[in-house]
């Protein structure tokens, strides 16, 4: 690119406006995806992805976790190539071979956590590789900063283009990404949960920016779990479920109930078997737990033989609550008692000694030593019981591991094999075995079945049920509503760091949980 396009989106703006005008007049979708499918090995991530984006419209894409939204976004971004289906830009079919091709086609994706160059200025972040140049191909910083300022003015925001990107808030980072998209003459902006990490003031500003973008004739796809936001700014809604397109309608013709019903609407099936147990004494008592800026006033109990689920959207603070209970993160105030005994703040070792086991979500990083043998991994948390005078008896270690491998129906070659050779589901069982070998009184398990196949999933559910039946108290964090409803005795719902709902197994429905998780509690009560 030469000096001619130095002003980036500004000079190009008129051309884009003309193109946009043509788009609007012909009423042809700027971007249309028809019946796209995508599989990863045996996993069908997307079965029928269809969406139609028009100029000057904000289009909401809704669906539960795992409905196929991210796969669809990645197809539009050129990151994935669909196995089948068609992609049309302004009515003409095209194939995107990579992110660069998507960019060239005028499609820009603004991710939840933008990727910037922290050491470079805001303006350079926008124009990297396309900086305005003058004679001798020298970068014209003045022109670059002016061009950035002009884009910010169009968006109605104030941001110093000459400051380094380091230290920008997530909201401002998104603005930089949006400005970059505009400088590239993007006609389609896809925003993947842009509001998840923003404060309410920042969300308001983003909405003003989105209004300005609409005014310029951009087609915008807006992904959010917050239904109030969807109804506030979107003209069209597309809902996905289980990898399939289910519903598309103008926002005006929909209400919250219809949307929620369309998002769930599936049988729970008989996948979950639940042994009826009578909860015993209180094992875990959490009182007024606070971690500043993360969660507030969280109080609940877990009894012997009870499975309590902590539900909520990603980012609601569920894992953080668990980490604070276990002592990985320090709590600001509040108390945690295990079997009546107060746990010290920020001491995981004390929590372990008191009888809490914590199975984290990220097995690879936090739960397992991937290059160590299966039996070593199982025994890792029980070494003090297996050692005599500081020496660990290999045979004792092996016996312990074999016991749990049988109990959990672990599928393995030899005990000496490295854990990394096991499938995801079996790795999860090794983590479980490692903690269960300590005979904990409370098991905290974060996303127990994420990323594992259906059959193993059912086994993990059966194991949780058995453990509870034997008197263990279980606190489970899960984003999968069927799992939450099928496995637990009681369901707690967190929304933005606060408990917004508590449901007994008998009264819990997906509808109620989604309402609580999206902050629609008041309406649900009405």
């Amino acid at each position: 690119m030469g000096a001619g396009d130095s002003a980036g989106g500004l000079e190009g703006g008129d051309g884009a406006a003309a193109k946009v005008a043509a788009d609007v007049a012909s009423a042809v979708a700027v971007l249309e995806l028809r019946h796209a499918a995508k599989s990863f090995g045996p996993v069908k991530a997307l079965l029928d992805g269809s969406v139609e984006l028009r100029a000057g419209e904000v289009h909401a894409l809704l669906g539960e976790n795992g409905a196929g939204k991210s796969t669809l976004v990645k197809i539009l971004a050129g990151v994935y190539q669909p196995d089948s289906g068609q992609l049309l830009v302004s009515g003409a079919e095209i194939t995107l071979h990579g992110p660069a091709a998507a960019r060239a086609a005028g499609i820009a994706v603004i991710y939840q956590e933008p990727m910037l160059f922290p050491d470079l200025t805001v303006a350079e972040n926008i124009y990297m590789g396309r900086q305005p140049v003058r004679a001798g191909r020298r970068i014209d910083r003045g022109a670059m900063n002016r061009a950035a300022n002009e884009i910010f003015a169009q968006l109605g925001v104030v941001l110093d283009p000459a400051r380094p990107a380091r230290g920008l808030s997530v909201a401002d980072q998104q603005i930089v990404e949006i400005a970059k998209a505009l400088s590239l003459d993007a006609r389609v902006l896809i925003m993947d949960e842009p509001t998840a990490a923003l404060s309410s003031v920042e969300v308001e500003r983003l909405f003003r920016v989105i209004a300005a973008l609409r005014g310029r004739g951009a087609a915008i796809m807006f992904i959010s779990h917050r239904l109030d936001e969807v109804f506030a700014i979107c003209q069209q809604v597309t809902i996905m479920r289980d990898g399939k397109f289910v519903l598309n309608a103008p926002t005006g013709e929909l209400d919250v109930d219809t949307v929620i019903r369309a998002m769930i609407g599936r049988d729970l099936g008989e996948m979950y078997q639940k042994t009826g147990t009578v909860p015993g004494e209180v094992v875990l008592a959490v009182d007024q737990l606070v971690r500043e800026n993360v969660f507030y006033d969280v109080s609940f109990n877990v009894r012997r033989g009870e499975v309590v689920a902590l539900a909520g959207l990603v980012g609601a603070g569920r894992t953080e609550v668990a980490r604070a209970i276990f002592g990985i993160d320090r709590r600001t105030s509040g108390s945690v008692r295990l079997l009546g005994k107060a746990l010290p703040n920020g001491e995981p070792a004390a929590a372990m000694a008191a009888g809490i086991a914590f199975v984290p979500e990220d097995r690879r990083q936090q739960g397992l030593v991937m290059d160590l043998a299966i039996d070593h991994n199982v025994a890792l948390a029980s070494l003090h019981r297996l050692s005599k005078a500081g020496f660990i008896f290999r045979s004792a270690e092996r016996r312990l591991a074999v016991t749990w491998a049988e109990r959990l129906q672990l599928k393995y070659g030899r005990m000496r094999d490295m854990v990394s050779t096991l499938s995801g589901g079996n790795q999860q069982k090794v983590v479980l075995g490692k903690w269960l070998a300590r005979k904990p009184s409370l098991l905290i398990i974060d996303e127990p079945t994420r990323g594992i196949d259906v059959a193993t999933k059912a086994e993990v559910h059966r194991i949780i049920d058995e453990l509870a039946a034997e008197g263990m108290a279980v606190l489970m964090i899960s984003s999968e509503l069927p799992e939450v409803l099928g496995v637990s005795d009681r369901i707690l719902v967190l929304h933005e760091g606060r408990l917004t709902g508590e449901f007994a197994r008998a009264d819990a429905t997906e509808d109620k949980i989604i309402r609580a998780a999206t902050g629609q509690v008041a309406k649900a009560a009405a």
């Binding site: 703006g13 406006a17 990727m115 970068i139 000459a162």
Partner: protein, 348 residues
């Protein structure tokens, strides 16, 4: 321009961009290093008045020149999140080979510089190729290269060192002649620093070096040909180390197999003292050159005040640590003030 359908209500009126403020801040990092140089110079002069003599100042400049020159290439490499530890060995090899060609082939003076640069560029190309193609960490590649070249150098020298009488007089003049009291050596290095310093600010490919070091993933998404850029950075670093070999020969007129021994650590230290972030993404060649000047001034200052030579290196190391700690603290302060300025913004 399309008229916006919805009224846009800026939170605050759009102000003129704060370029001068930021530019001043960016300059301040180098200004700080320069101020330290002057401070050390002043303090030393108070104890030993001879330190301010023109001969002593020439010594300061000459002594810093080679490290500053190598620091220019090193900065280009470090900025991309890599490191080049082979510069000292490369300098030694090129110094000996050029000196040997002078005595055995009587090559013209100008070609000594060309050959020196070519030798260095070749080493840099090997470093760059292995780092970018085989994706071996540059720390490993260039450390290995450090030993390989030092070994090759020893084999070539084999006791047959280059001595002053064997190097053309015109070549050696570069090492000690001055223009208006400024040594040629310092002028050459200053010109290189100025040219590369300007280029690093002004040209797209150079800015992409910073982008690569700042966020490699984002650089790939932005379509930056990272491997090619990193390769060029290594070639440049090697070429400048080669040129450094020629200047070493001109300065000392004598080369054995220990020429440039340990320079790589001085070069990296100079760059870091001069504000080049060791994890890439920021820092300037001017800063690195000033860092070299600072380290040399400290060392010579310690000699001038006759501190026990046992302690010279320890004190230099302590000052290095202090300089970097202060730099980190300042960087944190700046980051915090940027954040709070933004917070104040939002309140409006």
């Amino acid at each position: 321009m399309t008229a916006p359908a919805a009224p846009m209500t800026p939170m605050t009126p759009v102000q003129a961009p704060g370029i001068p403020r930021i530019a001043r801040f960016l300059r301040a990092r180098e200004a700080g290093t320069l101020a330290l140089v002057l401070l050390v110079f002043l303090l030393t002069t108070l104890k030993n008045h001879n330190f301010a003599s023109s001969g002593s100042i020439q010594q300061l400049l000459v002594g810093a020149s080679l490290i500053a020159l190598l620091g220019v290439g090193e900065t280009m490499v470090i900025v991309t999140r890599n490191i080049d530890l082979s510069v000292g060995s490369t300098l030694g090899l090129s110094a000996f080979v050029v000196g040997d060609l002078f005595r055995s082939q009587h090559i013209p003076v100008w070609s000594g510089f060309v050959i020196a640069i070519a030798i260095g560029a070749t080493v840099g190309a090997v470093n760059g190729a292995i780092t970018t193609l085989a994706r071996v960490p540059s720390l490993v590649v260039t450390l290995a290269m450090l030993y390989i070249i030092r070994g090759l150098d020893s084999k070539l020298v084999n006791g047959n060192i280059v001595v002053p009488g064997q190097v053309p007089h015109a070549f050696i003049e570069v090492g000690y002649e001055t223009v208006f009291g400024i040594p040629w050596l310092a002028i050459i290095v200053a010109v290189v620093v100025a040219i590369v310093g300007y280029a690093m600010r002004t040209f797209r490919p150079a800015r992409e070096l910073y982008a690569i070091g700042s966020n490699p993933e984002a650089a790939a998404l932005a379509g930056i040909p990272s491997a090619r850029r990193v390769f060029v950075a290594f070639v440049t670093s090697g070429a400048l180390a080669g040129l450094g070999g020629a200047l070493f020969l001109a300065l000392f007129a004598q080369v054995d197999n220990s020429a440039g021994l340990g320079y790589e650590l001085n070069v990296v230290a100079a760059a870091v003292v001069g504000g080049v972030a060791i994890f890439g993404g920021s820092g300037t060649v001017v800063g690195a050159a000033l860092g070299a000047l600072l380290l040399n001034t400290i060392q010579q200052g310690l000699v001038a005040v006759r501190s026990s030579s046992f302690w010279d290196e320890a004190i230099a190391g302590g000052l290095l640590l202090a300089a970097i700690s202060i730099d980190r603290l300042l960087a944190l302060r700046v980051a915090r003030s940027l954040r709070s300025a933004e917070g104040a913004h939002r309140e409006l």
